[in-house]
Amino acid sequence: MTDPITQDSPVYVVDDLIGRDIDAYLDLHQHKTMLRFITCGSVDDGKSTLIGRLLYDSKMIFEDQLAALEADSKKVGTQGQAIDFALLVDGLAAEREQGITIDVAYRFFNTEKRKFIVADCPGHEQYTRNMVTGASTADLAVILVDARKGVLVQTRRHSYLCHLIGIRNVVLAVNKMDLVDYDQATFDAIVRDYAEFARSIGIETFTAMPISGFAGDNITTHSAKTPWYAGPTLVDHLEQVEVNAAHDGDKPFRMPVQWVNRPNLDFRGFSGLIATGSVRPGDTIRVLPSGKTSTVTRIVTLDGDLDQAVAGQSVTLCLADEIDCSRGDVIALADAPPQVADQFEATLVWLNDEALIPGRAYWLKLGTQTVSATVQHPKYVVNINTMEHMAAKTLDLNAIGVVEVTADKPVVFEPYVDNRTLGGFILIDKITNATVAAGMLHFSLRRAQNVHWQALDITREARAAMKGQTARVLWFTGLSGSGKSTIANLVEKKLHALGKHTFLLDGDNVRHGLNKDLGFTEADRIENIRRVGEVARLMTDAGLIVITAFISPFRAERDMVRAMMEPGEFVEVFIDTPLEEAERRDVKGLYKKARQGALKNFTGIDSPYEAPDSAEIHVDTTREQAEDAAERIVNHILAQWTPVI
């Protein structure tokens, strides 16, 4: 058996120390720092082999694992009879069968100076999201290049992604030097090539080294086969390089509040992980977004109160004053607080199979803040192979684009380049709960800050009271031809006869005016509903009973409008007519056209209708006459009203 691992497996001196003086060893280990890094490369660049090598060389592979590895190497390995290190790290059964790495795997090893966490990420373009995930916690990136192939499209893509996510330490590891006879000219040419590209995307410095993960050259010891290389070995470099967090302590103090600790009436503490800076008892702090100030009285931990706490520590702070402060707030240095805004420009990496729907509301989680937010059409998307900016209407899986984000309330933030904790966010789909995007904030858009709400002297209640009614939105939803407009018209007539002030917003009519610029794509439909919702809200401010008749096929948008209104004001009326019945009636002849393919995105045919889960009123038109239904709806809202005094 040709086993390359026995050729030069270095033994770390720590091993000797363990046996000789365990207390000294424990003391050494106790004071180690930690470096998290990501390895990027394609299936063939030898990434898994390199990680397997690092684990092996730092004695992180045990005898029984090695025995299993040897057996597996013969069974499914790709290195013939030799040990296939990749099998150590390709964990999931599906991956081992396909011989590729499809998910981020985390691996651990120690040297004398540091503990390392390696994120092993897949290299294919379809796994961009996995790489971004792995990179998000990394201090350093090892970009692997096959010495025989040089800088490829994927090398550029990986470098761009790592740079985008804010990794400032880049190692260009020219691997498989054993297969090019350790030729210096080959190495130099690759480094020149990469340097040119790196500059073009803003990577200021990188460290290049010739290695062989398979043969172990320049991994832990300088290889005799590359006498022309005077730089550090890979492990030397990983031990020396500065971690990201090294500068976090020098920045102004910020701690997002996770949880308010209230065991009894005498104690109120604010728990969180310090994002940047440091804090001492006596420091004057400011709570954002309220802007209230107070003084830190104690830093409480189970091990006793602290004199100082720094970035990266999880602590509980007590304040001198009883000021409002809860989860989502940020405690910051009083003189240098972070910004507060509700509109931003950001870069988004789309992580989900379902594309971005501009205008739809998603949950945005940033630090400990969760708000509802919408994303506009991308300004551009980046072609991650060529770095070109291209126009796009949406963001598909793995797409990277620059967008405007609007939150429904102010968010405490800092630009991502200054603060990962207060600048990095995720978007969550409100229906599926999937994490659909990772975002990095650039800056706030001034618009939101300059438009202030006009305080109104006449209240909405006063306007409604003068009309002897309570404002309502009767939101009719259902398929085209289900009978929405018919029943809505009847309802309005009945209310009018009762002396109520109403206004009916009809889908077709609105599309002739206010929304004539909108088509029928998913995004346009959402914008259509958003505008109608805003108009309806203004009308409820005026005290009117607003009746709307729109297909409004998506649950998320109906919920968005519901959220715009006061509690109880929004009454969802589901006009439930089966598709076959609506299509049989086909009052406007639209189903026929859609079936012929002349109408695209027609609800029920080639665009979905999401029926309400819990509409306030449910009308089954196959069982109830329009007249009866209208009567029932009118009675429902009259019964709901609080008496007007």
Partner: protein, 306 residues
């Protein structure tokens, strides 16, 4: 936890501790009904200590759940009850009634023992109390499929794990939103290694089960494994006679399934020393991972094993 010489650079243990505490607080802030699984092993000991730190001076705002097999070592039951008392937390003990009724035991039922008591027992217990988030002490360095598991790991209503469909987990932002019927397993010490766990126990003087330390104990050797005779339920084979040997355990489970190692390591530094010098990995003492080849744990987890 002391900082390293560089004032603003925390040691790796300080960073790992802060990360685990941050995760626990996120769960408490966002889940409706969290619970901490407590198996009385060294990882559980660390988890409990971290929970106490995370919420001090409040007691951790969730109960401890021990999914019992009735076959744990007696010393484990002793420590379990003591730690629950000291932490001021509620201790819930669950034993699968079907396994009790059928008298499932490790001697006669092999793999069925783990399946009924642990896998089924855990599912039943989570359903019984309606827990939507359960803390576990699993680590990514333990086993290959764990290396790819998220810190917030979602389970379907039937407690299955879908490794191909995990949510991306970026920075330290955790999406704790569940679909109907789903629950979350949360692993705050995912990024710890076995050495980190031992070191943390050492630094914080965390109580652990005495069985981790070497002592003369009655043992028999069977199928290449050294088993401790913990009580008279241990059926001796013809000709088998318990022999007193100085042994200790690297990992603790059900006593007939957990192999001991011969050792003289009686202090924590000695135990750590032996652990580091040994060439056999931690889970080797457990019979469970050897089932169904290289994918053993992955298959078990898809079925709902923790």
């Amino acid at each position: 936890m002391p900082a390293s010489t560089d004032r603003t650079t925390l040691t790796h243990l300080a960073r790992l501790e802060a990360e685990a505490i941050h995760i626990m607080r996120e769960v408490v802030a966002e889940a409706q009904n969290p619970v901490m699984l407590y198996s009385v092993g060294k990882d559980s000991a660390v988890m409990l200590h971290l929970a106490r730190k995370a919420f001090y001076p409040s007691p951790p705002p969730f109960p401890l759940l021990h999914v019992d097999t009735t076959w744990k070592f007696r010393a484990m039951y002793d420590l379990r009850d003591r730690m629950a008392r000291e932490s001021g937390m509620d201790l819930l003990v669950y034993q699968n009634p079907e396994a009790t009724a059928r008298g499932i035991n490790p001697f006669d039922h092999g793999a069925l023992h783990t399946d009924m008591w642990k896998t089924e027992g855990l599912k039943q217990a989570l359903d019984k109390w309606g827990f939507d988030a359960a803390f576990g002490g699993a680590r990514r360095d333990e086993e290959k499929s764990r290396a790819k598991e998220r810190i917030f790991s979602f389970r379907t209503a039937s407690h299955g794990w879908d490794p191909k469909n995990q949510r991306p987990e970026l920075w330290n932002l955790y999406n704790a939103r569940k679909n109907k019927g789903e629950s979350i397993r949360v692993f705050p010490i995912s990024n710890w290694t076995e050495l980190d766990v031992w070191q943390y126990i050492h630094l914080n003087a965390i109580p652990i089960v005495p069985l981790y330390f070497a002592e003369k104990r009655p043992t028999v050797e069977r199928d290449g494994m050294l088993l401790m005779v913990d009580d008279d339920r241990f059926p001796l084979l013809p000709g088998e006679e318990p022999v007193m040997r100085s042994i200790r355990f690297r990992t603790l489970g059900c006593y007939p399934l957990t192999g001991a190692v011969e050792s003289t390591a009686a202090t924590l530094p000695e135990v750590i020393q032996e652990t580091l010098l040994t060439t056999t990995s931690e889970r080797q003492g457990r019979a469970i991972d050897k089932d169904s080849g290289g994918a053993g744990m992955e298959v078990k987890k898809q079925q709902g094993y923790f």
